[in-house]
Amino acid sequence: MTRFPARRGVPEFTIFAPLIQMTTKYGFHDVREHLVNDIKDAYPTKWEGFEAAGVLGEDVFGSPKPHPNSVLNLFLEQGIEFALPFAAYRAGLGGPSASALANNKPGTALPPTVLVSITHGMGVMRRMAVLAAHRIAYTGDLGVCPKRACILDASTNRIEQRMKALNDIFDVMVGRSEGDMLSPLSFGTLVCVNCTRRLEKVHLYFRKEFVWAELPNLLGRGSWEAV
């Protein structure tokens, strides 16, 4: 044991968890507050904070990275309300089977009501993502690109290529709907630079207004304002 260890940021989770429990229990309120402050950036409550965050979720605890379920359990136990929506989202990313399998690891079993709520909420979000992908790709909202070189131009003699590009765009978005729906997509060179930007803007809007905004609902909190 080193009496004067190097000053560091957030302790690893195996230290953080008992430390926050013990400091709460024995009235070390300053230390507790400091520990909670340390994780605020990694569990943002605003979209701007999410976009600006360098480290997100359980990654803030360094190595060994804790299971997101363990983190969520700790936050629930300790009443760290602001962090619950994002922690629930991270726990939900693994899907219900991952959460069930996690039961083998101590401390990772979510309470049944929480597990049901997160699983259902994530399912709704993923269905919304597929609907959005279909809408964006196939209902003509991408419009017509004035660039002759772009596959979305107005010419009618490239219908097959245009359909293939739209299928690819759809596939990219649907693929993401099965993963982390909050992270940005790369549409590569499927369409021209300007159309790619339009796609990214539409997708950004979806991520912000339909995924991020719904995170508090994963635990029945309603809205970010209610957290």
Binding site: M1, R3, F4, P5, A6, R7, R8, I15, P18, L19, Q21, M22, T24, K25, Y26, G27, F28, D30, V31, R32, H34, V36, S70, N73, L76, E77, Q78, G79, P106, T108, A109, L110, P111, T113, V114, V116, S117, H120, G121, V124, M125, M128, L131, A132, L142, G143, C145, K147, N194, R197, R198, K201, V202, Y205, F206, F210, E214, N217, L219, G220
Partner: protein
């Protein structure tokens, strides 16, 4: 600079029309009252191994609605006597020979300095005050009390108390004198 091909979906309002079909009234989740969530005893909370011959200081670690807990008053603390059969081991690090109080968690004995512990937390100061320790057993020459904590967790707390910089507190944050 305006670039060609950006006519569509440029303003948020335009963008919104792209996704306006998504029913906003979808049932996003099953509503769980926060009171239920707060009441959940998560599996993260580990339980101490209890000894039938020892009455523990019972301080629940689970918070209710407020992070500031109302726990561990002097009346919660009952200096207790371990039974003869109880086997205890000294903690590897936090068993100071010159300590003047013993705290037992599970089967682990910590021997620490009451002044240092009390200096760190008013709650612990109350719990370990002389009047509280009056009548406590002294199997190894100093008062012994039993806390209902997991030894590893309590060791983390002691490490924080005894190790400057263990938690990188900003300047000015520290114990309340």
């Amino acid at each position: 600079m305006e670039e060609e091909g950006t006519a569509a979906a440029e303003s948020p309002a335009d963008v919104e029309t792209h996704i306006a079909f998504i029913p906003r009234d979808l049932p996003a989740t099953i509503d769980i009252p926060s009171s239920i969530l707060h009441g959940i005893e998560s599996s993260f909370v580990r339980h101490n191994v209890e000894s039938s011959s020892v009455s523990f200081v019972d301080i629940p670690a689970t918070t209710t609605s407020s992070p500031t807990l109302s726990i561990s008053t002097v009346s919660d603390l009952t200096p207790t006597e371990l039974s003869e059969e109880e086997t205890t081991t000294h903690h590897d690090v936090f068993y100071f020979r010159d300590g003047n109080i013993e705290i037992v968690c599970g089967s682990t004995v910590f021997r620490v300095h009451s002044a240092i512990i009390s200096f760190s937390s008013s709650k612990l100061r109350d719990m370990l005050s002389p009047s509280t320790l009056l009548g406590a057993p002294m199997p190894e020459g100093c008062p012994r009390v039993v806390f209902k904590d997991i030894p590893e967790d309590f060791a983390v707390l002691l490490k924080m108390i005894y190790t400057p910089g263990f938690v990188s507190l900003p300047f000015g944050v520290g114990p309340v004198y």
